[in-house]
Amino acid sequence: MLSRILIANRGEIALRIIRACHELGIEAVAVYSQADKDAPYLQFADEAICIGPPDCAESYLNIPRIISAAEVADVEAIHPGYGFLAENSHFAEVCRDCGIGFIGPSVEAMALLGDKVAARKLAEKVSVPVVPGSDGAIEDESEALKLANKMGYPVIIKAAAGGGGRGMRVVHNDISFRSAFSSARAEADAAFGNSSVYLEKFIVEPRHVEVQVMADNEGNALHFYERDCSIQRRHQKMIEESPCSAIDKHAREELCESALRIIKEAKYSNAATVEFLVDKDKNYYFIEANARIQVEHPVTEMVTGHDLIKWQLKIAGGETIDISQRSIKLTGAAIECRINAEDPQKSFAPCPGTITRYIPPGGPGVRVDTHVCQGWTVSPNYDSMIAKLIVHQQTRAEAITTMRRALREFIIEPIKTTIPACLEILSHNLFVKNKVDTGFVERNL
């Protein structure tokens, strides 16, 4: 077991890690930027070191400062949390070179899964379905047309050098393919100076379903079932739940087994999440793997009764997985709402400011993960998430009822938050009936 670690992060995840450390008897050293100097959770750390000014580049993203802090604080390992340096293989490498443990995968496993193309190839190697597509750029229009027919419509033509939703064309049939292909190339050329395009099957109304996995350093791996994260806005998750009630037991098993095959093939260790798209015909496709602990990990903790951060710490300390897959059971249903300091009325624009009145909800089945308190000033320097509200009940319907109650009890004033938007979603007919997909928020809110 590790005895002393440094947490290279801030906010609610820093507090989360401090809590797990203390329950395991591990000393936790926190770092903070000057913007976070009054953060209440710092007092719970065994030591707190100021590493820079508010700007992320000079503090939470600053590798030399973090390593320096780890050295002066004489820690054995660093937990990177999520975001910031959590999936930065260069940081993991620097830790290794400096003789500091990294609570996460090896440099190689992280780099492999972080490369979307390589990860995709790895998935194919272990017979996990991936989103069908062309193998790289496709120049010839008739080749493209053949491939489109092979994959089946609808297909999406994407700019290879693209982004921001530009240079994309969804095509539903042969008739519109020709003009779509040439206009996509023209748009790509105009926008990115590169007319290269590739083809992918367009997954209609997909659900985003991800599997939580944990592996040790001896090649043992476990899954902790799945989470449904289809409630997203502009690719940012808003609400997550477990289990995914749109898939049956058989599909669940397949998804989880696929995730484990990928993790084992990548020789991965520690926590990861393997993401899939599930279409309306219940076909699933691997899209990517995240080599870190995720924001929504509490959802899995509630339905399985396992503490994922403790698992991370134990594995980093050299422990091997000593429980069977069979012993991990799904109990009840859990839902998480991310509460952000954003104004839903103004396209979710961030709302920094001081919280003068903060009263979190409570009662049976309610968990609040936050670093925030009354008097806390939400800084514009960091992301706008201020709290995670998680509920757990025996059924999804009861979890929804509890979540609505908890959202109504949650008082955060005077800044604007996404609480009203979450309430709206939780009250929406389609959400209650669980007839949602990744386009739900943008269509209905």
Binding site: P40, L42, Q43, I51, S68, V72, G375, T377
Partner: protein, 166 residues
Amino acid sequence: MADKDADLKRIKRLIKIMEENGLVEVEIQHGDDKIALKRAQPQMVVGHPFAGIAAPGQESAGVASAPKGDDASARTDQAASAGADEDLAEIKSPIVGTLYATPSPDSENYVEVGLRVEPQTVVCIIEAMKVMNEIKAEISGTIREILVSNGQAVEYGQVLFRVKAD
């Protein structure tokens, strides 16, 4: 009297703006008119153990492991003799690391109380990731207080020295 009412209104409005936006200090100047307002920081639960700024006459907390260097005796008794003087400029640590007060184990200290410094004067070394960084005074003046000791771990923004600027 009317002027005073208008002033009071303006001040009240400023205070409201400060509160709403979490501002601590505001200074506004219009020609010869000047308003300066300073709020107390919002009350938090008991402060964290390792404040970056040490009060004068108090040994700097920094990272509270025992000093690793040869010279274990703090030189902060010199700080104790200086009173709290708000006119003193502060030299703060720009990085996280271990502070060394001498160029080498056998040398004299870089600075002593009363020493005159120029902007380019090296006041100490802070070692970070095996690199010895020379920390410059960046100010002209006289060292009045030394708040750190040889081998002490220091954090970003920690006050190392107080200087009576020229």
